[in-house]
Symmetry: D2
Subunit: 354 residues, 4 copies
């Protein structure tokens, strides 16, 4: 209820603050019998972790996950998987300057108003550091979703937009560059741009596109819990996300029904895929694809004016170790959330019929 | 779990098919002591009901709601509010032609695959007729949310886009025209355009913008259940929706952090509102605003080719009574879902502190 | 959350007050493809309905259920099953005398304190009339649980206790008498006793025993949601229930482990069944059996002293149409709740393994 | 859903196996602003921990809890409280003899059938070691429930029953003896009896009574989620529990309504309290009291015959470190579960009225 859980049958609950002792979580409902490759979990964590390249935050965290339960002789047992990632590189002192003041477009003010006070160190619970736990859960969900391919990548940074249909991209190139854009030429431009933004002490937004292939027909529930509604909720729950669209998305608005409709092939596949792999909230077996918009990171390394708890004006200098652009590190988070949604609906789909 | 409920503390569960005996629902968790104005519920139903103007479906349904429980001497009692809307104008025969074939971009095919068979009359449960129940629940939620103003309106039809900031619009004009666009000049153009589309037997998409004012600070939960994530899920659960963005949305991607950040006034309000009234998933007291993209209705009154259950090609003529553009009738649905989300989080916010 | 739903995957939500327009509910998550025998639903309702014999309340209600959705061509569709039972024999005037006073051992006082006021007619939502909706849901759950046999019966009335092991009883005799005790001799004694209690204007308690046979191995979850914990919760949620025990129950306390343990046969069945069909919260395939204790009905048709809203002493005469002993009519309710629990866990058990 | 969570607004999720690396959990929904006394948490853990006296298991575990999040400057922050208890004294080798065979009246067989295999070390997830996490959560719930007194104690061991009304007992004596019975004379007899049972290599059952005082009026929900139904579920979810009764319980069955009813005093309290502090599922401000029946521990240190995975007969010698009687250590577990239920309903009660 307090919103630290996601999913119903494949249910993930996370805990942990940016500068606390540890982050972690519990995965409840993961079916028994999955042979877990623990290295693949760590691999996804490494894709998200700070300090991996020059265009991301330089906080040094190994982000090593410890699994406490739910696995025996290499396989999931059906009991809850508890895990933790210990924080090692907290520099809480970096944050004493914001103890009593509110950083613009951060959650400082609303936390104080909602809870009466807050753990101000590094944003506390509102920090995107929480998403490390999601990546662990997502990496396990991916292994459960044997055969389903989930590929997310950066398709826009600032005004720079990759305008190719995903079918023309080579997903194997995503990890070949620091930006995680599968078009290496565009990736280079984006990287240069992020570096120039960073030099200004500023930040910039971006878009992540996600493509999910080999999804079975029938995932998703017809009314409130439509598959794309839950995917949308999942993506919007990631820090800094401002928008979600799937299939034809916002552009589909301007089309006529006769143009927009996806005609059927004899085998139930469709000739076009403006539906984005979902019809009436239920997967139809075609590729699911969607875009996720991220705003520019709020922490700029510039001087700015804001207020303190007493409503007095204060001048502050942005500092700390921050990302100039969040999308390169958010790619595995988008994948993780998508995997969690699909795992949940895959289990639920087992209950549809007698 | 099967997805026919929405909300946790203010929890709405709906039932009913397009051409069954009745639609309806149960609202559980509505606090005791609300003096309910039943006419306002019916009024919202009338805004959604078919046959209200020449640019919507001509199915004739009075959509009269009967309330069975949960109200005593004009006030909510704290016990569940059960209600039903009886269907009176079913023309099931209209649908015998689709019994064995799959309409493109409809849920026919996925229902058959998911459940083994389907109630094919009028789309059954996948019909937007289900949203009548949501409007009832939303109208009750609105009365609970005393003081909060929720105004949705049509801001785009096809390529025609209302490019004014919402602050310049007069919301009292929304109901003055069939399109539900507060700019009466633009409304006329949109209406003419929808009529021309209808004449072609075709359909067109649109965008609804929703503005929520006077929201208290502190609604929303920090991690998975961010306020905007739940609003997004709510909107994406409405039939035909393809996208959701709030605050700066997709356009915010191209901004720098130094431009995008909302500076504080001394009283905790912000000078700009690119955050869209939500920071870190929690309402900050500023206006919440968002856009919802609707695709063109899939049923076109034209001849088209599709497949039947056996994968054989069939030529069908679209018929029945359908909307050429769904957004005018979807305005009260968007409001209803927004009200349900806010009611839920308002109750939850009572539990944050000792 | 407000407690009008039961179950997670097979989820039942009910509404309705004793003297409102209608009672009813929604079953969400019932799998598609069950051929429903509607007469069997009505039959269970008839076993619960008032006026069926001289030892139960004489309120005359046909208790006819109307099903609004979720069934098509005789089969469940996988979409929610909405239903209502219209009240026809409300005599609200019977209750004007309790409008401002609190009947002892009824919920009048706590409702007023919890909600600020109450629908006082016939106990409103706290009336056991609500359980009619549970019987509908349970009757559908039973049909889903094809092959599982659920038999509840009266095993004690006041101090009169049927002291035979259930294996020696003939369940086909349960419906042969008004008390619903399968031992016809004992049934006669119980009936005579209830009649004498009724003549005094008094009431008496009783025990219902329930035996569930042919349960598959593996239903129930290991920690908080143990199968017997959920059965216990289900039974304790029935009006007037004061206790629950399964297997060896309270008597098992006095046994030694070496006596109490159930030794295995080669096929995994056990030689004895003190476990009551559940080990570690999970069904082991043996018969599940349990006892449910019901207190005497609080409404006695005698004069009594109580207080009104202002804390003033008032003398009241109990009146209305009430049961002298609740257990004969509660038999189908116990079965219904058991069926709902088993249906829920049957669906959940499909998700245990890859 | 997989049953490792308890509560809705004050929600506890646990993980961990008997012989895994660590046990632990997450408390989500604990309100902000509680000044937590961490020593009181450890104190309750110590009351549950093994090795505390000669009549409990001699496994040596310090059971030291580490709290990872959700607390800042001594107070709860409103964010999830993650915690772990590291196992230090696992002797997994003790269990190699049961790897392939099924101990009678244990969960070994059903786990294998449900999940396909199991972590057999010390019962894995089915071990009562899991309840250490509940005690942590309960100890925090108790601190939230400022002013409410929860006292559980042993009222029966085998056939030895403490037959005094709880009002005549001195709760301050509960911790004065190893059995946790407030009547020191009876406690001595019980202790001697348990020692004699232990000497035989056998085990014995018992009853724990729990009394909750100073409960506000209005906790509990009227229909399925009655306060006593949830208390019953909570208690039945504890390992080895076979029965639950509250207020007049099973004995109330034999009373007449005119005797059983609790007459009101002018202030809304009642002269008697057969209702056990709950009417219609809602607390009425009187003392809540209930009994919980525990069966004898299944592991006896004797030789016994059972079957292995292939259904072959095997003769085994019970070994390991086990409790001859579980009730002394279960006292803090009963209190913890009661506290969790009350904390949950206390939060929910904030949402009843406008």
């Amino acid at each position: 209820m307090a919103g630290n859980s996601f999913g119903q049958l494949f249910r993930v609950t996370t805990f942990g603050e940016s500068h606390g002792k540890a982050l972690g979580g519990i995965i409840d409902g993961c079916p028994a019998g999955i042979e877990l490759d623990l290295e693949r979990i760590q691999l996804d964590l490494n894709r998200r972790k700070p300090g991996q390249s020059s265009i991301v935050t330089q906080r040094k965290e190994p982000d090593t996950v410890e699994i406490y339960s739910g696995i025996f002789e290499g396989k999931t047992t059906g009991t809850p998987i508890g895990f933790a990632i210990h924080n090692t590189n907290q520099k809480s002192k970096d944050y004493s300057h914001i103890k009593d003041s509110y950083r613009p477009s951060h959650a400082d003010y609303v936390y104080d108003r909602k809870y009466g006070f807050r753990d101000y160190r590094g944003g506390g619970r509102s920090s995107a550091r929480e998403t490390a736990s999601r990546v662990v859960a997502g990496a396990i969900a991916k292994q459960f979703l044997h055969g389903v391919q989930i590929n997310a990548f950066v398709s826009q940074v600032g005004g720079m937009k990759l305008d190719k249909p995903y079918q023309e991209l080579d997903f194997s190139k995503i990890e070949s560059n620091a930006v995680r854009c599968p078009d290496t030429e565009m990736a280079q431009k984006m990287e240069d741009y992020i570096k120039s933004i960073k030099k200004e002490g500023d930040t910039i937004g971006g878009v992540i596109t996600c493509v999910i292939q080999n999804v079975p027909v029938g995932l998703g529930e017809p009314v409130f819990d439509k598959l794309h509604a839950k995917l949308g909720e999942a993506m919007l729950s990631i820090n800094a996300v401002k928008g979600f669209e799937y299939g034809s998305g916002f552009a589909g608005v301007a089309m006529k029904g006769s143009e927009h409709n996806d005609a059927y092939n004899a085998d139930g596949t469709t000739k076009t895929n403006r539906s984005g792999g979902v019809q009436g909230g239920i997967s139809n077996g075609m590729d699911i694809y969607f875009n996720v918009a991220f705003k520019p990171v709020a922490t700029v390394l510039q001087s700015y004016e804001t207020i303190n708890k007493d409503g007095e004006k204060v001048i502050t200098q942005g500092k700390g170790r921050h990302d100039p652009c969040v999308v390169p590190r958010a790619v595995p988070i988008v994948e993780a959330m998508a995997a969690m949604v699909l795992a949940d609906y895959s289990l639920l789909a087992r209950t549809n019929k007698i």
